[in-house]
């Protein structure tokens, strides 16, 4: 079906997309909660900032990441000091790009669900002796599950499809940053490789569909008590 090298690309894409989304999950939820519930000056600004990677051309996001993470950039220096290495041209860099691009989608979906949570249920929980943190864990969070699932699917799909920011930030390095989209792009530039392009594209679709089906099942199970599905 796929060649060994192509399986390698699939595995790399899954690793990059998976790590990106897992790391971003708590960050995205915290941001979504803050935006849904918080009242603070600069909220609109934070909202805008979170949306930035969505609205900026991906190549610009990639370029900004490049400036930030270059050995002389502010974040690049920190990483160098901490790990002695760099994320440029590395799969870690590709995961950063994918995570940043996925973030706004994750936040929006989660925020939508948090805003839909009935706050009277939270009041009820507090009269039952639950502090803010327990209310959050046992009421707000579980009732936001539909948004968390939707956000995760959107984010994972976006991470899998990420192209412009990745190629600008960490280039197209086989085995390190050459995810499915970059591999397909490379093949599109080599005449007579339609079969490979097709195989890789189908693989993208299969992975995405699998993620989708899994998420639907998850949402169904989590939502059992809430919706008639």
């Amino acid at each position: 079906m796929l060649t060994g090298a192509e399986w390698g690309i699939v595995a790399l894409s899954l690793r990059i997309g998976g790590v990106a989304v897992l790391v971003m999950l708590p960050i995205a939820f915290a941001l979504a909660y803050l935006l849904a519930r918080g009242r603070f000056p600069g909220k609109i600004l934070l909202d805008g900032l979170v949306h930035l990677p969505l609205v900026l051309p991906p190549v610009v996001t990639g370029w900004l990441l490049l400036l930030a993470f270059a050995p002389t950039g502010p974040l690049g220096r920190i990483i160098e000091a901490l790990t002695g290495g760099t994320v440029l041209f590395r799969w870690t860099g590709a995961a950063i790009a994918a995570g940043v691009m996925a973030l706004p989608l994750m936040v929006r979906a989660m925020r939508l669900s948090i805003e839909a949570v009935d706050r009277q249920l939270e009041s009820a929980a507090r009269t039952l002796g639950a502090g803010r943190w327990r209310v959050f864990r046992t009421v707000t969070l579980p009732l936001s599950v539909p948004g968390v699932v939707a956000g995760t699917v959107l984010g994972f799909a976006r991470a899998l499809g990420e192209f412009g920011a990745t190629i600008t930030f960490v280039s197209n390095v086989p085995d390190q940053t050459q995810t499915l989209p970059l591999a397909i792009y490379s093949q599109l530039q080599i005449p007579g490789t339609d079969a490979t392009v097709f195989r890789l594209a189908v693989m993208s679709v299969v992975i995405a569909l699998a993620a989708l089906v899994a998420s639907e099942m998850l949402a169904r199970r989590a939502g059992r008590g809430q919706h008639v599905l």
């Binding site: 009277q120 249920l121 929980a125 039952l128 002796g129 009732l143 008590g225 809430q226």
Partner: protein, 202 residues
Amino acid sequence: MFFDVDVEARVGAHDIACRFQAEDGLTVLFGPSGAGKTSTLNMIAGLLKPRRGHIRVGGRVLFDHGEGINLPPEARRVGYVFQEPRLFPHKRVRANLLYGAPDRDADPDPQLMEVLGIGPLLDRWPRTLSGGEARRVAIGRALLSDPAFLLLDEPLSSLDRARREEIMAVIERLRDAIGLPILMVTHDAAEAERLATRTIEV
């Protein structure tokens, strides 16, 4: 003096003021629809912040505008049965009942389940309950949370006579045997007459 309440609040365009003192026993809050009964209970529970005044219950200061005291709801040890059931839709009946219980792994007290008639419902989801079943679960949830006092907002509406009798008996027992102070809203004259130690008009 168990309840010592003197509060004022503004909800929407309405000014609500309520002032009363009450000993232990059961105090019925009484008044026409829209008078501010639920708002008053919400202030005592800590869900609505009064504009001024104070709330003292059983010697504890729950709220005092002058002294800047405002205990959060979870610290007030209130057992609140809301006007509508407000069950957690994502938890089964059992988990709803035990949400505020000191021991969340124990089974809910079988005797109480018997009185409320909800023993067979423990594994059901709230959305599958009938109106009266949901209300009974809400009563059970408040009683199981080990409260220092009860706030009951028309707890017996939508229950049939037999069940109402039994639950009234439970409330009487709480009132007399355990000595739990109770503040209750009801429109039912018979109910008020039977249970009330005193009645306060809002």
